[in-house]
Symmetry: C2
Subunit: 249 residues, 2 copies
DNA sequence: ACCTGAACACCGTTCAAGT
DNA sequence: ACCTGAACACCGTTCAAGT
Protein backbone atom coordinates (compact mmCIF):
# COMPACT_ATOMS: atom_id res chain seq x y z
CA UNK A 1 0.00 0.00 0.00
CA UNK A 2 1.57 3.23 -1.13
CA UNK A 3 1.29 6.46 0.89
CA UNK A 4 -1.98 8.30 0.43
CA UNK A 5 -1.34 11.96 -0.31
CA UNK A 6 -4.96 12.88 -0.97
CA UNK A 7 -6.87 13.94 2.16
CA UNK A 8 -10.24 12.87 0.77
CA UNK A 9 -11.30 9.49 2.09
CA UNK A 10 -13.56 8.26 -0.70
CA UNK A 11 -14.33 9.03 -4.33
CA UNK A 12 -11.82 11.89 -4.12
CA UNK A 13 -12.97 14.65 -6.46
CA UNK A 14 -10.08 16.27 -8.34
CA UNK A 15 -8.87 18.91 -5.92
CA UNK A 16 -7.28 22.18 -6.82
CA UNK A 17 -5.67 24.89 -4.71
CA UNK A 18 -7.32 28.18 -3.86
CA UNK A 19 -10.66 29.07 -2.29
CA UNK A 20 -13.33 26.48 -3.13
CA UNK A 21 -16.00 27.60 -5.60
CA UNK A 22 -18.95 26.31 -3.56
CA UNK A 23 -19.88 28.44 -0.54
CA UNK A 24 -18.60 25.64 1.72
CA UNK A 25 -15.51 27.56 2.76
CA UNK A 26 -13.73 26.40 5.88
CA UNK A 27 -14.10 28.60 8.96
CA UNK A 28 -12.68 28.60 12.46
CA UNK A 29 -16.17 27.86 13.71
CA UNK A 30 -16.64 24.81 11.49
CA UNK A 31 -13.22 23.50 12.47
CA UNK A 32 -14.00 23.84 16.18
CA UNK A 33 -17.29 22.00 15.73
CA UNK A 34 -15.60 19.17 13.86
CA UNK A 35 -12.90 19.01 16.51
CA UNK A 36 -15.51 18.78 19.27
CA UNK A 37 -17.28 15.98 17.43
CA UNK A 38 -14.02 14.11 17.05
CA UNK A 39 -13.19 14.56 20.74
CA UNK A 40 -16.64 13.39 21.74
CA UNK A 41 -16.14 10.23 19.72
CA UNK A 42 -12.56 9.29 20.38
CA UNK A 43 -11.46 11.23 23.43
CA UNK A 44 -8.92 13.97 23.76
CA UNK A 45 -6.00 11.56 23.79
CA UNK A 46 -6.83 10.27 20.33
CA UNK A 47 -7.56 13.68 18.88
CA UNK A 48 -5.21 14.66 16.08
CA UNK A 49 -4.98 17.60 13.71
CA UNK A 50 -4.31 15.24 10.84
CA UNK A 51 -7.41 13.17 11.35
CA UNK A 52 -9.42 16.34 11.83
CA UNK A 53 -8.12 17.57 8.49
CA UNK A 54 -8.96 14.23 6.91
CA UNK A 55 -12.56 14.44 8.14
CA UNK A 56 -12.86 17.95 6.79
CA UNK A 57 -11.37 16.63 3.56
CA UNK A 58 -8.55 19.14 3.46
CA UNK A 59 -4.82 19.00 4.02
CA UNK A 60 -3.43 19.49 7.55
CA UNK A 61 -1.85 22.77 6.52
CA UNK A 62 -5.27 24.11 5.65
CA UNK A 63 -6.44 23.68 9.21
CA UNK A 64 -3.36 25.53 10.38
CA UNK A 65 -4.16 28.43 8.13
CA UNK A 66 -7.29 28.98 10.23
CA UNK A 67 -6.29 28.09 13.78
CA UNK A 68 -2.59 28.71 14.29
CA UNK A 69 -2.06 25.91 16.79
CA UNK A 70 -3.50 22.73 18.21
CA UNK A 71 -3.62 24.21 21.69
CA UNK A 72 -5.47 27.29 20.51
CA UNK A 73 -8.02 25.11 18.76
CA UNK A 74 -8.63 23.11 21.92
CA UNK A 75 -9.13 26.33 23.85
CA UNK A 76 -11.70 27.31 21.25
CA UNK A 77 -13.43 23.99 21.74
CA UNK A 78 -13.51 24.41 25.51
CA UNK A 79 -14.96 27.89 25.10
CA UNK A 80 -17.69 26.53 22.85
CA UNK A 81 -18.73 23.93 25.39
CA UNK A 82 -18.84 26.43 28.23
CA UNK A 83 -20.40 29.28 26.29
CA UNK A 84 -23.87 29.18 27.83
CA UNK A 85 -23.26 28.01 31.39
CA UNK A 86 -23.72 31.30 33.23
CA UNK A 87 -27.32 31.65 34.45
CA UNK A 88 -29.07 34.96 33.79
CA UNK A 89 -28.31 37.53 36.44
CA UNK A 90 -30.63 39.36 38.78
CA UNK A 91 -33.28 36.70 39.19
CA UNK A 92 -31.87 34.52 41.93
CA UNK A 93 -30.45 34.97 45.40
CA UNK A 94 -26.68 34.51 45.36
CA UNK A 95 -26.80 31.03 46.86
CA UNK A 96 -29.30 29.86 44.28
CA UNK A 97 -27.38 31.50 41.46
CA UNK A 98 -24.19 29.68 42.37
CA UNK A 99 -25.97 26.37 42.78
CA UNK A 100 -27.57 26.86 39.39
CA UNK A 101 -24.22 27.70 37.83
CA UNK A 102 -22.67 24.52 39.20
CA UNK A 103 -25.50 22.39 37.82
CA UNK A 104 -25.52 24.01 34.42
CA UNK A 105 -21.78 23.68 34.18
CA UNK A 106 -21.97 19.99 35.01
CA UNK A 107 -24.74 19.50 32.47
CA UNK A 108 -22.57 21.09 29.80
CA UNK A 109 -19.59 18.93 30.69
CA UNK A 110 -21.70 15.78 30.75
CA UNK A 111 -22.62 16.39 27.14
CA UNK A 112 -18.93 16.60 26.25
CA UNK A 113 -17.12 14.76 29.04
CA UNK A 114 -13.89 14.39 27.08
CA UNK A 115 -13.23 18.12 27.18
CA UNK A 116 -13.30 18.14 31.00
CA UNK A 117 -9.55 17.87 31.35
CA UNK A 118 -9.12 21.04 29.30
CA UNK A 119 -11.16 23.22 31.62
CA UNK A 120 -9.13 23.05 34.77
CA UNK A 121 -5.87 21.52 33.67
CA UNK A 122 -4.81 23.87 30.86
CA UNK A 123 -4.29 27.55 31.43
CA UNK A 124 -5.08 28.43 27.83
CA UNK A 125 -8.47 26.76 27.87
CA UNK A 126 -9.21 27.99 31.34
CA UNK A 127 -8.45 31.52 30.20
CA UNK A 128 -10.91 31.30 27.33
CA UNK A 129 -13.97 30.63 29.45
CA UNK A 130 -16.80 33.14 29.07
CA UNK A 131 -16.40 36.40 30.90
CA UNK A 132 -20.07 36.33 31.89
CA UNK A 133 -19.23 33.42 34.15
CA UNK A 134 -16.61 35.53 35.91
CA UNK A 135 -18.86 38.56 36.23
CA UNK A 136 -21.74 36.42 37.48
CA UNK A 137 -19.73 34.77 40.24
CA UNK A 138 -18.30 38.11 41.32
CA UNK A 139 -21.75 39.68 41.40
CA UNK A 140 -23.12 36.82 43.47
CA UNK A 141 -20.25 37.04 45.93
CA UNK A 142 -20.62 40.79 46.20
CA UNK A 143 -24.25 40.25 47.06
CA UNK A 144 -23.04 37.82 49.71
CA UNK A 145 -21.06 40.63 51.26
CA UNK A 146 -17.54 39.99 50.02
CA UNK A 147 -15.24 42.73 48.85
CA UNK A 148 -11.52 43.30 48.45
CA UNK A 149 -9.14 40.44 49.21
CA UNK A 150 -11.88 38.16 50.58
CA UNK A 151 -13.77 38.60 47.29
CA UNK A 152 -10.74 37.32 45.38
CA UNK A 153 -10.38 34.37 47.74
CA UNK A 154 -14.05 33.44 47.63
CA UNK A 155 -14.04 33.69 43.85
CA UNK A 156 -11.06 31.37 43.52
CA UNK A 157 -12.65 28.89 45.89
CA UNK A 158 -15.87 28.84 43.88
CA UNK A 159 -14.17 28.35 40.51
CA UNK A 160 -11.83 25.70 41.90
CA UNK A 161 -14.70 23.86 43.55
CA UNK A 162 -16.73 23.84 40.35
CA UNK A 163 -14.13 23.07 37.69
CA UNK A 164 -12.00 20.98 40.02
CA UNK A 165 -14.75 18.52 40.80
CA UNK A 166 -15.75 18.19 37.16
CA UNK A 167 -12.18 17.76 36.00
CA UNK A 168 -11.84 14.88 38.41
CA UNK A 169 -15.24 13.31 37.88
CA UNK A 170 -14.66 13.03 34.14
CA UNK A 171 -10.93 12.42 34.06
CA UNK A 172 -10.14 10.02 31.21
CA UNK A 173 -9.40 6.34 31.38
CA UNK A 174 -6.12 4.99 30.03
CA UNK A 175 -6.06 5.19 26.23
CA UNK A 176 -5.39 1.51 25.78
CA UNK A 177 -8.59 0.54 27.49
CA UNK A 178 -8.38 -3.21 27.34
CA UNK A 179 -9.64 -3.28 30.92
CA UNK A 180 -6.34 -4.76 31.99
CA UNK A 181 -5.76 -1.66 34.04
CA UNK A 182 -9.28 -1.62 35.45
CA UNK A 183 -8.91 -5.24 36.48
CA UNK A 184 -5.62 -4.46 38.19
CA UNK A 185 -7.08 -1.56 40.16
CA UNK A 186 -10.16 -3.58 41.09
CA UNK A 187 -7.81 -6.26 42.31
CA UNK A 188 -5.75 -3.73 44.26
CA UNK A 189 -8.83 -2.26 45.88
CA UNK A 190 -10.16 -5.63 46.95
CA UNK A 191 -6.94 -6.90 48.43
CA UNK A 192 -6.43 -4.09 50.90
CA UNK A 193 -5.14 -5.33 54.22
CA UNK A 194 -7.91 -4.94 56.82
CA UNK A 195 -5.60 -4.37 59.78
CA UNK A 196 -3.74 -1.50 58.10
CA UNK A 197 -6.81 0.11 56.58
CA UNK A 198 -9.80 -0.74 58.72
CA UNK A 199 -12.14 2.12 57.78
CA UNK A 200 -11.54 1.56 54.11
CA UNK A 201 -12.06 -2.17 54.42
CA UNK A 202 -15.27 -1.74 56.35
CA UNK A 203 -16.74 0.60 53.74
CA UNK A 204 -15.44 -1.08 50.63
CA UNK A 205 -18.77 -1.96 49.01
CA UNK A 206 -19.84 1.65 49.47
CA UNK A 207 -16.67 3.08 47.97
CA UNK A 208 -15.50 0.74 45.23
CA UNK A 209 -15.71 2.41 41.82
CA UNK A 210 -17.67 5.31 43.32
CA UNK A 211 -15.01 7.13 45.32
CA UNK A 212 -12.07 9.08 43.84
CA UNK A 213 -8.81 7.10 43.74
CA UNK A 214 -10.85 3.91 44.11
CA UNK A 215 -12.56 4.18 40.71
CA UNK A 216 -11.87 2.37 37.45
CA UNK A 217 -14.72 4.05 35.60
CA UNK A 218 -15.16 7.78 35.25
CA UNK A 219 -18.21 10.02 35.45
CA UNK A 220 -19.39 9.13 31.96
CA UNK A 221 -20.07 5.59 33.06
CA UNK A 222 -20.57 6.07 36.79
CA UNK A 223 -21.78 9.62 37.49
CA UNK A 224 -21.23 11.01 40.97
CA UNK A 225 -24.60 12.74 41.21
CA UNK A 226 -25.15 12.74 44.94
CA UNK A 227 -21.55 13.67 45.70
CA UNK A 228 -21.78 16.59 43.32
CA UNK A 229 -25.01 17.84 44.89
CA UNK A 230 -23.35 17.60 48.27
CA UNK A 231 -20.37 19.49 46.92
CA UNK A 232 -22.64 22.32 45.80
CA UNK A 233 -24.22 22.47 49.22
CA UNK A 234 -20.87 22.32 51.00
CA UNK A 235 -19.48 25.10 48.87
CA UNK A 236 -22.38 27.38 49.72
CA UNK A 237 -22.25 26.47 53.39
CA UNK A 238 -18.53 27.17 53.33
CA UNK A 239 -19.10 30.54 51.68
CA UNK A 240 -21.67 31.51 54.28
CA UNK A 241 -19.30 30.60 57.07
CA UNK A 242 -16.59 32.62 55.35
CA UNK A 243 -18.94 35.59 54.99
CA UNK A 244 -19.72 35.43 58.69
CA UNK A 245 -16.02 35.49 59.55
CA UNK A 246 -15.38 38.49 57.34
CA UNK A 247 -18.47 40.50 58.19
CA UNK A 248 -19.56 39.36 61.65
CA UNK A 249 -23.21 39.79 62.64
CA UNK B 1 23.67 15.07 9.36
CA UNK B 2 22.94 11.35 9.19
CA UNK B 3 20.49 9.63 11.60
CA UNK B 4 21.93 8.93 15.03
CA UNK B 5 21.26 5.32 16.03
CA UNK B 6 23.30 5.39 19.20
CA UNK B 7 21.38 6.48 22.29
CA UNK B 8 24.45 7.77 24.07
CA UNK B 9 24.85 11.50 23.69
CA UNK B 10 28.59 11.90 24.03
CA UNK B 11 31.72 9.77 23.88
CA UNK B 12 29.56 6.75 23.25
CA UNK B 13 31.22 3.69 24.77
CA UNK B 14 30.89 0.58 22.60
CA UNK B 15 27.54 -0.87 23.63
CA UNK B 16 26.52 -4.45 23.57
CA UNK B 17 23.21 -6.17 24.20
CA UNK B 18 22.37 -8.01 27.39
CA UNK B 19 22.45 -7.05 31.05
CA UNK B 20 25.23 -4.54 31.75
CA UNK B 21 28.23 -5.81 33.66
CA UNK B 22 28.41 -2.92 36.11
CA UNK B 23 25.79 -2.96 38.87
CA UNK B 24 24.15 0.06 37.25
CA UNK B 25 21.20 -1.94 35.95
CA UNK B 26 18.10 -0.03 34.97
CA UNK B 27 15.12 -0.30 37.30
CA UNK B 28 11.56 0.95 37.28
CA UNK B 29 12.47 3.18 40.19
CA UNK B 30 15.41 4.82 38.42
CA UNK B 31 13.31 5.35 35.31
CA UNK B 32 10.55 7.05 37.30
CA UNK B 33 13.08 9.33 38.99
CA UNK B 34 14.62 10.31 35.67
CA UNK B 35 11.16 10.92 34.24
CA UNK B 36 10.25 13.16 37.16
CA UNK B 37 13.45 15.15 36.71
CA UNK B 38 12.70 15.57 33.04
CA UNK B 39 9.13 16.69 33.76
CA UNK B 40 10.36 19.14 36.36
CA UNK B 41 12.69 20.68 33.81
CA UNK B 42 10.65 20.71 30.63
CA UNK B 43 7.06 20.24 31.65
CA UNK B 44 4.72 17.37 30.97
CA UNK B 45 3.95 18.54 27.44
CA UNK B 46 7.57 18.22 26.40
CA UNK B 47 8.12 14.90 28.13
CA UNK B 48 8.98 12.08 25.76
CA UNK B 49 9.96 8.47 26.17
CA UNK B 50 12.66 8.87 23.56
CA UNK B 51 14.39 11.72 25.32
CA UNK B 52 14.05 9.90 28.61
CA UNK B 53 15.78 6.92 27.04
CA UNK B 54 18.49 9.18 25.65
CA UNK B 55 19.17 10.64 29.09
CA UNK B 56 19.39 7.17 30.54
CA UNK B 57 21.70 6.29 27.65
CA UNK B 58 19.66 3.34 26.51
CA UNK B 59 17.38 2.61 23.57
CA UNK B 60 13.67 3.50 23.79
CA UNK B 61 12.78 -0.18 23.71
CA UNK B 62 14.78 -0.72 26.87
CA UNK B 63 12.56 1.69 28.78
CA UNK B 64 9.55 -0.19 27.53
CA UNK B 65 10.92 -3.43 28.81
CA UNK B 66 10.59 -1.99 32.31
CA UNK B 67 7.45 0.14 32.23
CA UNK B 68 5.02 -1.20 29.63
CA UNK B 69 3.55 2.15 28.70
CA UNK B 70 4.03 5.88 28.84
CA UNK B 71 0.81 6.34 30.77
CA UNK B 72 1.79 3.75 33.36
CA UNK B 73 5.12 5.47 33.84
CA UNK B 74 3.41 8.80 34.43
CA UNK B 75 1.15 7.18 36.99
CA UNK B 76 4.27 5.88 38.71
CA UNK B 77 5.70 9.39 38.73
CA UNK B 78 2.52 10.83 40.22
CA UNK B 79 2.56 8.17 42.91
CA UNK B 80 6.15 9.05 43.77
CA UNK B 81 5.33 12.70 44.24
CA UNK B 82 2.34 11.97 46.43
CA UNK B 83 3.89 9.14 48.40
CA UNK B 84 4.36 10.94 51.70
CA UNK B 85 1.49 13.40 51.83
CA UNK B 86 -0.75 11.65 54.35
CA UNK B 87 -0.06 12.96 57.86
CA UNK B 88 0.39 10.38 60.64
CA UNK B 89 -2.91 9.26 62.07
CA UNK B 90 -4.21 9.50 65.61
CA UNK B 91 -2.47 12.69 66.67
CA UNK B 92 -4.79 15.39 65.39
CA UNK B 93 -8.46 16.21 65.58
CA UNK B 94 -10.16 15.48 62.26
CA UNK B 95 -10.32 19.14 61.22
CA UNK B 96 -6.62 19.63 61.89
CA UNK B 97 -5.74 16.38 60.16
CA UNK B 98 -7.53 17.40 56.97
CA UNK B 99 -6.04 20.89 57.02
CA UNK B 100 -2.61 19.35 57.46
CA UNK B 101 -3.22 16.94 54.59
CA UNK B 102 -4.19 19.79 52.27
CA UNK B 103 -1.07 21.75 53.14
CA UNK B 104 1.27 18.81 52.80
CA UNK B 105 -0.28 17.90 49.49
CA UNK B 106 0.20 21.42 48.20
CA UNK B 107 3.79 21.46 49.42
CA UNK B 108 4.45 18.24 47.49
CA UNK B 109 2.89 19.59 44.33
CA UNK B 110 4.78 22.86 44.61
CA UNK B 111 8.00 20.93 44.46
CA UNK B 112 6.87 19.27 41.25
CA UNK B 113 4.22 21.59 39.80
CA UNK B 114 4.34 20.04 36.34
CA UNK B 115 2.85 16.80 37.58
CA UNK B 116 -0.25 18.59 38.89
CA UNK B 117 -2.31 17.88 35.81
CA UNK B 118 -1.76 14.15 36.28
CA UNK B 119 -3.28 14.02 39.73
CA UNK B 120 -6.83 15.04 39.03
CA UNK B 121 -7.09 14.86 35.28
CA UNK B 122 -5.98 11.28 34.60
CA UNK B 123 -7.78 8.32 36.08
CA UNK B 124 -4.68 6.13 35.97
CA UNK B 125 -2.58 8.52 37.98
CA UNK B 126 -5.42 9.31 40.31
CA UNK B 127 -5.85 5.60 40.93
CA UNK B 128 -2.23 5.17 41.90
CA UNK B 129 -2.27 7.62 44.79
CA UNK B 130 -1.27 6.17 48.16
CA UNK B 131 -3.92 4.17 49.96
CA UNK B 132 -2.91 5.77 53.26
CA UNK B 133 -4.33 9.01 51.95
CA UNK B 134 -7.66 7.31 51.37
CA UNK B 135 -7.69 5.59 54.74
CA UNK B 136 -6.68 8.78 56.51
CA UNK B 137 -9.46 10.87 55.00
CA UNK B 138 -12.00 8.16 55.74
CA UNK B 139 -10.82 7.90 59.34
CA UNK B 140 -11.04 11.66 59.81
CA UNK B 141 -14.53 11.78 58.37
CA UNK B 142 -15.64 8.88 60.50
CA UNK B 143 -14.41 10.78 63.51
CA UNK B 144 -16.50 13.71 62.26
CA UNK B 145 -19.55 11.51 62.47
CA UNK B 146 -20.06 10.45 58.86
CA UNK B 147 -21.05 6.95 57.87
CA UNK B 148 -22.72 5.21 54.95
CA UNK B 149 -23.68 7.28 51.91
CA UNK B 150 -22.78 10.61 53.54
CA UNK B 151 -19.30 9.25 54.22
CA UNK B 152 -18.85 8.55 50.51
CA UNK B 153 -20.12 12.01 49.62
CA UNK B 154 -17.95 13.80 52.15
CA UNK B 155 -14.92 11.81 51.01
CA UNK B 156 -15.44 12.73 47.37
CA UNK B 157 -15.89 16.38 48.30
CA UNK B 158 -12.63 16.42 50.26
CA UNK B 159 -10.57 14.75 47.53
CA UNK B 160 -12.10 16.94 44.82
CA UNK B 161 -11.50 20.08 46.86
CA UNK B 162 -7.88 19.19 47.46
CA UNK B 163 -6.75 17.84 44.09
CA UNK B 164 -9.12 20.06 42.12
CA UNK B 165 -7.68 23.26 43.49
CA UNK B 166 -4.11 22.14 42.95
CA UNK B 167 -4.78 20.91 39.44
CA UNK B 168 -6.10 24.35 38.61
CA UNK B 169 -3.54 26.40 40.48
CA UNK B 170 -0.69 24.70 38.66
CA UNK B 171 -2.26 24.11 35.27
CA UNK B 172 0.38 24.53 32.59
CA UNK B 173 0.93 27.48 30.29
CA UNK B 174 0.82 27.00 26.53
CA UNK B 175 3.84 25.04 25.31
CA UNK B 176 4.94 27.70 22.89
CA UNK B 177 5.38 30.26 25.62
CA UNK B 178 6.48 33.26 23.65
CA UNK B 179 4.20 35.37 25.83
CA UNK B 180 2.10 36.16 22.78
CA UNK B 181 -0.76 34.35 24.44
CA UNK B 182 -0.17 36.02 27.81
CA UNK B 183 -0.18 39.40 26.15
CA UNK B 184 -3.41 38.60 24.38
CA UNK B 185 -5.14 37.53 27.58
CA UNK B 186 -3.82 40.52 29.47
CA UNK B 187 -5.21 42.67 26.69
CA UNK B 188 -8.54 40.86 26.81
CA UNK B 189 -8.78 41.29 30.57
CA UNK B 190 -8.02 44.99 30.44
CA UNK B 191 -10.46 45.83 27.69
CA UNK B 192 -13.56 44.50 29.39
CA UNK B 193 -16.56 46.73 28.85
CA UNK B 194 -17.43 48.38 32.18
CA UNK B 195 -21.16 48.63 31.52
CA UNK B 196 -21.53 44.92 30.77
CA UNK B 197 -19.24 43.74 33.56
CA UNK B 198 -19.28 46.31 36.33
CA UNK B 199 -18.16 44.17 39.26
CA UNK B 200 -15.29 42.73 37.29
CA UNK B 201 -14.22 46.15 36.08
CA UNK B 202 -14.34 47.63 39.56
CA UNK B 203 -12.14 44.87 40.99
CA UNK B 204 -9.76 44.42 38.11
CA UNK B 205 -6.53 45.39 39.91
CA UNK B 206 -7.42 42.90 42.62
CA UNK B 207 -8.16 40.09 40.19
CA UNK B 208 -5.81 40.41 37.23
CA UNK B 209 -3.39 37.49 37.06
CA UNK B 210 -4.49 36.33 40.52
CA UNK B 211 -7.96 34.97 39.85
CA UNK B 212 -8.77 31.80 37.87
CA UNK B 213 -9.73 32.45 34.24
CA UNK B 214 -8.10 35.88 34.54
CA UNK B 215 -4.55 34.56 34.93
CA UNK B 216 -1.69 34.36 32.45
CA UNK B 217 0.75 32.91 34.97
CA UNK B 218 0.18 29.76 36.97
CA UNK B 219 0.88 28.88 40.58
CA UNK B 220 4.58 28.33 39.99
CA UNK B 221 5.04 32.00 39.24
CA UNK B 222 2.08 33.48 41.10
CA UNK B 223 1.08 31.18 43.99
CA UNK B 224 -2.45 31.49 45.34
CA UNK B 225 -1.49 31.13 49.00
CA UNK B 226 -4.28 33.04 50.67
CA UNK B 227 -6.94 31.58 48.40
CA UNK B 228 -5.72 28.10 49.18
CA UNK B 229 -5.78 28.72 52.93
CA UNK B 230 -9.31 30.00 52.58
CA UNK B 231 -10.21 26.95 50.56
CA UNK B 232 -8.99 24.71 53.38
CA UNK B 233 -11.07 26.64 55.89
CA UNK B 234 -14.13 26.65 53.64
CA UNK B 235 -13.87 22.90 53.10
CA UNK B 236 -13.78 22.25 56.82
CA UNK B 237 -16.61 24.69 57.51
CA UNK B 238 -18.60 23.00 54.77
CA UNK B 239 -17.93 19.58 56.27
CA UNK B 240 -19.08 20.73 59.69
CA UNK B 241 -22.28 22.12 58.22
CA UNK B 242 -22.78 18.84 56.39
CA UNK B 243 -22.19 16.88 59.58
CA UNK B 244 -24.79 18.98 61.36
CA UNK B 245 -27.33 18.24 58.64
CA UNK B 246 -26.71 14.52 58.78
CA UNK B 247 -26.48 14.16 62.54
CA UNK B 248 -28.45 17.04 64.02
CA UNK B 249 -27.61 18.22 67.51
C1' DA C 1 -7.32 35.00 0.73
C1' DC C 2 -7.32 30.28 0.89
C1' DC C 3 -5.60 25.91 -0.24
C1' DT C 4 -2.29 22.01 -2.17
C1' DG C 5 1.58 19.01 -1.91
C1' DA C 6 5.45 17.80 0.26
C1' DA C 7 8.74 17.94 3.55
C1' DC C 8 10.93 18.37 8.48
C1' DA C 9 11.63 16.84 12.83
C1' DC C 10 9.74 14.49 15.79
C1' DC C 11 6.63 10.81 18.48
C1' DG C 12 5.16 5.76 21.26
C1' DT C 13 5.47 1.08 20.60
C1' DT C 14 6.77 -3.51 18.66
C1' DC C 15 9.85 -7.14 17.55
C1' DA C 16 13.49 -10.08 16.06
C1' DA C 17 17.91 -10.65 17.40
C1' DG C 18 21.70 -10.49 20.36
C1' DT C 19 24.25 -11.65 25.08
C1' DA D 1 16.60 -11.47 32.08
C1' DC D 2 17.86 -7.48 29.93
C1' DC D 3 19.22 -4.92 26.10
C1' DT D 4 20.31 -3.57 20.93
C1' DG D 5 19.07 -2.08 16.40
C1' DA D 6 15.74 -1.17 13.35
C1' DA D 7 11.36 -0.67 11.79
C1' DC D 8 6.13 0.70 11.81
C1' DA D 9 2.69 3.85 11.92
C1' DC D 10 1.88 7.74 13.34
C1' DC D 11 2.28 12.98 15.02
C1' DG D 12 2.20 18.92 14.75
C1' DT D 13 3.94 22.41 12.05
C1' DT D 14 6.22 24.92 8.19
C1' DC D 15 6.67 26.47 3.60
C1' DA D 16 6.95 27.16 -1.26
C1' DA D 17 3.82 26.95 -4.72
C1' DG D 18 -0.52 27.13 -6.80
C1' DT D 19 -5.27 29.56 -7.84
Amino acid sequence: MQPMPTPAKKKAPPKTAGRPAGGAALTKQRIAEAALAQIDELGLGAFSMRELAARLEVYPATVHWHVSTREALLAEVAATVMAQVAPPSGKLAWQAWIAELFRRCRAAVRQHPNVAQLLGAQLVSNGSLPIELVEGVLAALTEAGFEGEPLLEAYNCVIAAMLGFLTMEFSPLPADNTQAWAEELRERVHTIRPLDHPVLTRNLPLLANKAFILRWDNGSTVPLDSSFERHVQMTIDGLEAFARRVRPG
